[in-house]
């Protein structure tokens, strides 16, 4: 494997893990403060137990998210020095604001975790709210920096130099809003379904059912609302990509030939050699409509672009299918959940709990697939149409060893965090306070 591939794999690998930790650390505080609020309102001790066990989850995920994020902030420069040398000053603003938001989050978490019985009740609860809000703000800012890589703006690119830098314009690049909205909703969907799934499994196993049903309800409410809203945000993203990165859209849909009234391909197997896709389901004219709001609009195919600026079509297409497929599934199940609130008998049926248990990892699979679409779909560019990834990589040879080291480190970390969560739940189920 050459240095570039090793560096790309390392970046992908660390991002895949960081995203999981960061999303949970960003969304779980909201579950925690809702449970906390219910405790303050009802004084039902179940909510206190729940708040305190979720708080441990928040602390563990916050730290793993923070350290893997620190690692990433170094890796940007360590792996892509040429990129950071030029992009650093331009996209510094979202990163420095993110630093500030993250700092606020860390401070608020300090208050929250250590403030029990020490701070005034309402202020203490409010510090938990700040943890959540500043976490979401950090997420949005980081995604804005990524948006800039897809939609570079806020500078003039003249003779290979980045001149007239305007950091504010770079922060509010054309892609920031659609990407940030899509990602925030995805984080809530993924975490909501994951946390709800874990509690659903406990109900399924008939362990402390009363507590876990309450936990389930809080988590899934967030997840289901986000899942229902997500298609709207997805539509905005698709239209945005159609306009700004047509080659990415073509890869997502595995469209090789430019045509008017382009059909939407669902599933299928990509054959890049023959430039076709077999065994797909075809919906006539749907792609033109989804991308441009016009059934007869022209959609550019991959053939309109030189071979050396096309991403890996198969990876992007499959990842996109996985994302949309799971997204649709979660949307349906989300609606089912809202119906179940009216039909209480469903909650007595163990198959209901089994369904949510099975769905637990789905949101995160979709979320990772979505990032693969964004990142692999942008290749070979690190800055779209400006700088290629291969020109940004570190000249230091032997990156493969660095990659191995991170694989070992993050695998161990993931196993450790999972094991810790299992112990938390076991401890919760054995606690006598409920």
């Amino acid at each position: 494997m050459d240095n570039l591939d090793a560096a790309r794999l390392q970046m992908a690998f660390t991002l895949i893990f960081h995203i999981i930790f960061a999303c949970i650390g960003m969304v779980m505080p909201f579950f925690m403060v809702v449970a906390h609020k219910k405790w303050l309102n009802t004084k039902n001790p179940i909510y206190l137990t729940l708040t305190k066990s979720w708080q441990k989850g928040v602390a563990i995920f916050f730290v793993t998210g923070a350290v893997s994020g620190t690692a990433l902030s170094f890796e940007l420069g360590l792996l892509w020095p040429e990129f950071m040398k030029h992009a650093g000053p331009i996209i510094g603003m979202p990163f420095s604001l993110e630093g500030a938001a993250f700092f606020v989050e860390a401070l608020a978490l300090g208050f929250y975790l250590y403030g029990w019985n020490k701070l005034p009740e309402k202020f203490h609860w409010f510090t938990g709210v700040i943890v959540g809000i500043s976490g979401v703000a950090s997420g949005i800012l980081v995604v804005s920096a990524n948006g800039w890589m897809n939609a570079p703006s806020g500078f003039d690119y003249i003779n290979g130099e980045f001149l007239n830098i305007d950091p504010v314009k770079a922060l509010f690049n054309p892609a920031w809003f659609t990407q940030a909205l899509h990602m925030t909703l995805a984080a809530f969907t993924a975490t909501g379904f994951a946390v709800a799934g874990i509690h659903a499994f406990q109900v399924y196993k008939k362990r402390q059912a009363e507590l876990h049903k309450k936990a389930f309800k809080i988590a899934i409410t967030f997840g289901a609302i986000a899942a229902v809203l997500q298609p709207l945000s997805g539509d905005l993203s698709a239209k945005d990509i159609a306009e700004r990165q047509p080659v990415k859209l073509a890869a997502m849909e595995a469209h090789y030939h430019t045509e008017k009234g382009a059909p939407l391909y669902i599933g299928g197997i990509v054959d890049n050699e023959k430039q076709e896709i077999s065994y797909k389901i075809e919906i006539p004219k749907a792609l033109s409509f989804l991308a441009f709001g016009d059934f007869n609009a022209e959609v550019k195919g991959l053939n309109d672009f030189p071979e050396d600026v096309r991403p890996n079509v198969a990876i992007v297409h499959y990842a996109f299918q996985i994302m949309v497929g799971i997204g649709t599934l979660l949307l349906v199940v989300g609606i089912l959940f809202f119906i179940s609130l009216k039909k209480k008998t469903w909650w007595q049926n163990n198959r209901f709990w089994l369904l949510f248990t099975i769905l637990a990892p789905m949101g995160f699979i979709a979320l990772e697939a979505g990032w693969i679409v964004t990142e692999v779909g942008r290749q070979p560019w690190i800055i779209h149409n400006i700088m290629k990834t291969k020109d940004a990589v570190t000249p230091m040879p032997g990156m493969i060893y660095s990659f191995y080291m991170y694989v070992i480190l993050y695998t161990v970390l993931t196993i450790a965090v999972t094991w810790l969560m299992v112990r938390q739940i076991k401890f919760l189920n054995n606690s006598k306070s409920v």
């Binding site: 603003m93 630093g99 500030a100 950091p167 080291m405």
Partner: protein
């Protein structure tokens, strides 16, 4: 506005060294304690560091961001040639962070604690050593800046800059400084019986700092390291270093009289003085390569970038600093109130 940015850079660096340094040091003190004292220290460390420890470590992210935004060329040299020690620092920060949380948030306190404890203690020692080595590497004069990576060996380009005697001694010196900060901090937090432990530790740490500081300077002097020559010849640097050394006397008296606030002020001041002395000796040429000295000001970003960065830092500072102050204050005040 450039000076605002430089101020925040130095300010963040000082805070990182003092706050995170004390944090690393706490693990070092724990590492070099008897088994019984390790458990006592573990509890004290959690009580003292718990609410602020994550915030302490964010300063390094701020430093990185200021460098890459404001001084991209300078940052570029660091991440290119000091890739390996920086990766090792990261590895240490990661393992240490998770170990700290695991050992305090694991639902069951069983044998796995032993693993978390050792992970925490060892990474607490190794991380500041590599951080110090990175600082040392910047000024050791062993970096070779080139565009032609084929002409030099991997060792010359990526290992020699940091894997040398001078950097190693700076690494050890920095770790000792951390232990010094932590042991003094812990004195103020311990009860009557436990205080004796940390008084002893802080004496050992003080002596180690002095010896290692002497080793760094004499090793550099014998090997004619540019930085050391500059340091010794710079009247301000020498005055500040001497002042820092003189502060040991009132510090020892303050420890004996168990004055918490003055003790901490003296300790923090000593470390800050040493750092400023080192910075003054070299400013603005903060990287010394095998051929020349590279000024941080040579690589500064354009005015528009610096302006926005400065404004962002001021706004960020206005939000963060009162929060941080309040956090430090409330938990201390609560403690006093409870007593």
């Amino acid at each position: 506005m450039l000076y605002v940015v430089l101020f925040f850079l130095v300010f963040s660096l000082l805070l990182y060294v003092v706050l995170a340094g004390a944090d690393f040091g706490a693990g070092i003190v724990e590492l070099f304690s008897s088994e019984k004292n390790q458990q006592i220290t573990k509890k004290t460390v959690y009580r003292v560091m718990g609410p602020v420890w994550e915030a302490n470590h964010i300063w390094i992210i701020i430093i990185m961001v200021i460098l890459w935004v404001g001084f991209p060329g300078f940052y570029n040299i660091l991440v290119l040639y000091l890739h390996i020690p920086l990766t090792l620092v990261l590895l240490g920060i990661t393992l240490r962070g998770v170990a700290f949380v695991f050992r305090h948030y694991d639902a069951y306190k069983d044998k796995s604690q032993i693993l978390y404890d050792w992970m925490f203690r060892i990474s607490s020692l190794v991380t500041p050593i590599f951080l110090g080595m990175t600082f040392g590497a910047m000024i050791s004069g062993n970096i070779t800046v080139t565009d032609n990576y084929e002409t030099l060996s991997f060792y010359d380009l990526f290992i020699a800059p940091w894997c040398n005697g001078f950097s190693f001694f700076v690494g050890l010196f920095f770790a000792a400084l951390c232990a010094f900060l932590a042991s003094v901090l812990l004195i103020g937090e311990a009860n009557e019986v436990e205080r004796a432990i940390y008084v002893k530790k802080s004496r050992i740490a003080t002596i180690t700092v002095i010896i290692l500081g002497f080793v760094v300077l004499s090793y550099g002097y014998i090997n004619e390291t540019t930085f050391v020559i500059h340091f010794i010849k710079n009247p301000y640097a020498i005055t500040l270093a001497a002042l820092s050394a003189l502060l040991i006397l009132p510090l020892l008296r303050s420890i004996r009289r168990a004055r918490k606030v003055t003790t901490r002020t003296f300790t923090g001041l000593q470390v800050v003085l040493i750092l400023i002395a080192a910075l003054i000796a070299q400013y603005p040429n903060l990287i010394i390569t095998s051929e020349s000295e590279i000024s941080i000001l040579e690589t500064v970003a354009t005015d528009s970038v610096i302006k926005v960065l400065g404004i962002t830092l001021i706004i960020g500072g206005l939000v963060i600093l009162p929060g941080l102050f309040h956090l430090l204050k409330s938990f201390k005040m609560i403690k006093i109130f409870e007593q």
